[in-house]
């Protein structure tokens, strides 16, 4: 009998995991400002966990969400409150807080049973605003719009102190998330999700309970995002409603789509690409350019970012993962590639 992963090339996975954990050591050896690079990678890692969940929802189930920053906020705030005010240990909070975010996922999943497409996208956007408001209104616990400081994470007596520790914690969880998400995708659940995405009517006709699976999709996606939120709160040590902007939600969907919706690796790649580009490459590029010409940094950076994104979409509409697949096919067929029609 054929195993689950038989049709895939798995031998690179351990190498990749090893590379992920060795990378900080290389970075530290190479540059004294490694903490900055690690920090950017840490953000990418946290967002990866979220976008993997978002990909399950939007890429696999076909349910648009423009409010995922809200789930991040719920996870972050619940963990901050649970750990710092209620006194629950962090090890427990990483299980409870995502569940809270997941339950909110069910709340927003409920309208999703009736509302479709772009209507749903904008309902979730509204959900994002409502959650932000709710956090401000609960100012006794959350500190309102002034934000709140969060303690450091402690796992089994080991305190996660700095970017170095954060990196290992975050990327361990990223790897776990990728594995879980890939298992979900190839399970019965994942196939049901994809059936719903491809055609709701056909899925229903094949005996898939639409309500159940849509709610489940929102729940799982909320779990991932809430989990990312927990990591976010305890690694940045300060959270405020300004963090969880509507623009962040839009960026999340951009990350998923630029990676290529409907592939877990795509979400990871897309997140890495956007976060690195915004926080690392463009600022460094600007620094390099600033030696020669005087320019106002802010809008110039945004312009470059938008411009690269637009070019990317026009020339690679299938995303990074699609690009990777094309390259792979190209190498496999080499030198017998079908010639491109010159129209």
């Amino acid at each position: 009998m054929k195993g689950r992963y038989d049709d895939e090339n798995l031998k690179w996975i351990p190498v990749l995991i090893l590379a992920i954990f060795l990378f900080p050591f290389i970075l530290k050896g190479a540059t004294s400002s490694y903490k900055y690079y690690l920090y950017v990678l840490n953000i990418a890692g946290i967002y990866m966990i979220l976008t993997i969940g978002l990909d399950l929802l939007s890429g696999f189930t076909g349910l648009m969400s423009l409010g995922h920053a809200a789930f991040l906020a719920i996870g972050a705030y619940s963990s901050a409150i649970l750990v710092d005010q209620v006194g629950i240990p962090f090890e427990l909070s990483i299980f409870i807080s995502p569940v809270i975010a997941g339950l909110f996922g069910l709340v927003i999943g409920f309208p999703a049973l009736r509302i479709e497409g772009m209507y749903l996208g904008l309902t979730t956007m509204g959900f994002g605003f409502i959650v932000k408001r709710l956090i401000i209104a609960l100012r006794e616990w959350t500190g309102g719009s002034a934000g709140m400081p969060v303690s450091k994470a402690t796992i089994f007596g080991f305190t996660i102190n700095n970017d170095w520790d954060n990196y290992f914690m975050i990327y361990s969880f990223v790897i776990i998330s990728v594995i879980i998400a890939r298992r979900i995708v190839i399970s019965k659940l994942g196939r049901a999700f994809m059936a719903i995405r491809d055609s709701e009517q056909a899925a229903q006709a094949s005996g898939i309970n639409l309500a159940k699976y849509k709610m489940l999709s929102f729940f799982i996606s909320g779990l991932f995002a809430g989990f990312a939120g927990v990591l976010f709160a305890h690694t940045s040590h300060f959270i405020s409603t300004d963090h969880f902007d509507i623009l962040l939600s839009i960026y999340f969907i951009v990350m998923v789509l630029i990676g290529g919706a409907g592939s877990i690796y795509g979400a990871v790649l897309g997140t890495l690409f956007i976060v690195l580009m915004e926080n690392l490459f463009i600022p460094l590029f600007k620094d390099g350019l600033a030696k020669y010409i005087h320019l106002e940094a802010g809008d110039f950076q945004a312009f470059i970012f938008g411009f690269i994104m637009l070019l990317f979409i026009i020339f690679q509409p299938l995303g990074l993962y699609g690009m990777w697949l094309k390259i792979r096919i190209y190498w496999k067929l080499f030198p017998f590639n079908p010639r491109r029609r010159s129209t």
Binding site: S33, S145, S236, D242, H243
Partner: protein, 388 residues
């Protein structure tokens, strides 16, 4: 294929390594690096442009005189777009990559709060954060001993304004219009304190950041019979509220927090803005103190365009005095501790731009007094001395 990739990566890493390292971060024999994080692409990018250019004007002036201890001061500016997350990235970049000596003038409340953990971790001082939140000078908070706050907090301003209003008219009914975010939260903190001290209730009206319509709020103030309105806005809000009130034939006294000092309030509001009273914690750019005089002289010399001159440009100029004085009082070969200790020796120090400033181990709040300015005949006139 893989071998080539790894060679390229190694080469790239080796290149990064070639950057020259400095033993004392940000300080060479000829230069001191200062990091500044401004909003260059977000909701207050106008300030992000004006404030650093005012600062640079003063730093250029100091550098032309030979700098501090023979070192030129150089300021690097990063953008955070009023997003705390990006502020943290920018702070990391400035501290780890660019190796700045100190941070200076980071703008925004939540953004400055967000970089506290980094300051704590790296021990980098932050001089004169460009936010008037009273929480900045709270020494019990994380990295409190590293932050030197110069501005009078919004809460202090609210208190003084309420005191002044009640002094003028003991029967005044006061209303406040606040922005529904961290700015407004700090405004309301002061309002609540004042309510408790005087045993009065103050009518609160909220608006959202970027709101254009104030008919509802103005109508409510009118219905509440409010005689004195405090506007916790920036420029658009006081102008629109005063114009709306004029149209609705409602004429209370209007007061505003420090961001409303901008000269454009008077210009745009026209005769509706007559009598508008705002508060400020530094000498105005057109007063005859030594700081403002130097400001006008430098503006003339550098041909600063008329539309750039004003309260925000001047603010950058004024806070730079504190930074430079701190660097002067740090040792000959400055360390970060030296800067902190140097700033803590300021005792009723006259900068020429601010009223006397005192910092010490137990007090990192600079100016705690404000002055009220009223628009009379389209010009801002000081109507009080320093109020506490």
């Amino acid at each position: 294929m893989k071998r080539y990739v790894s060679i390229i990566i190694m080469a790239a890493l080796a290149w990064i390594r070639c950057e020259n390292r400095v033993t004392s971060p940000g300080v060479t024999d000829t230069e001191i690096l200062i990091g500044n994080i401004q909003d260059l692409s977000g909701p207050i990018k106008e300030l992000g442009f004006l404030i650093p250019s005012g600062t640079n004007m003063y730093l250029d002036y100091i550098n032309a005189q030979g700098g501090v201890h023979g070192r030129q001061i150089k300021m690097l500016i990063e953008d955070h777009g009023y997003n705390p997350q990006k502020a943290v990235v920018a702070a990391k970049k400035l501290i780890e990559k660019d190796q700045v000596f100190a941070l200076y003038n980071v703008i925004g409340t939540s953004t400055t709060e967000a970089i506290r953990p980094i300051l704590e971790e790296s021990g980098v001082p932050l001089v004169a954060p460009a936010t008037m939140s009273g929480t900045m000078s709270d020494l019990s908070r994380k990295a409190g001993h590293l932050i030197f706050h110069t501005d009078a907090g919004y809460d202090v301003q609210s208190n003084v304004l309420v005191d002044y209003i009640l002094e003028q008219n003991a029967n005044a009914k006061i209303g406040v219009v606040y922005q529904d975010d961290d700015y407004g939260a700090n405004v309301l903190k002061g309002i609540a304190e004042a309510e408790e001290r005087h045993g009065i209730t103050i009518q609160r009206e909220a608006y959202q950041r970027g709101a254009t319509d104030f008919v509802g709020q103005t109508g409510n103030l009118m219905k509440g019979g409010i005689t004195d309105v405090i506007i916790g806005g920036i420029v658009r809000e006081p102008v629109t509220i005063m114009k709306t009130s004029q149209a609705m034939k409602y004429s209370p006294h209007f007061f505003g927090h420090a961001p409303t000092v901008d000269a454009r309030v008077g210009l745009l509001a026209g005769d509706a803005g007559e009598g508008f009273t705002s508060c400020y914690f530094a000498y105005l750019p057109d007063s005859d103190k030594s700081g403002p005089a130097l400001y006008r002289e430098l503006c003339e010399k550098n041909n600063v365009p008329e539309k750039m001159r004003g309260i925000y440009h001047y603010y950058g100029f004024a806070t730079a005095h504190i930074l430079v004085e701190g660097l002067r009082r740090a040792e000959e070969y400055p360390t970060r501790e030296g800067l902190i200790n140097g700033l803590e020796t300021l005792n009723n120090w006259e900068s020429g731009t601010y009223p006397p400033i005192t910092f010490n181990k137990n007090d990192h709040a600079g100016v705690e007094k404000i002055m009220l300015l009223q628009i009379q005949g389209g010009k801002q006139v000081a109507i009080t001395g320093w109020l506490e």
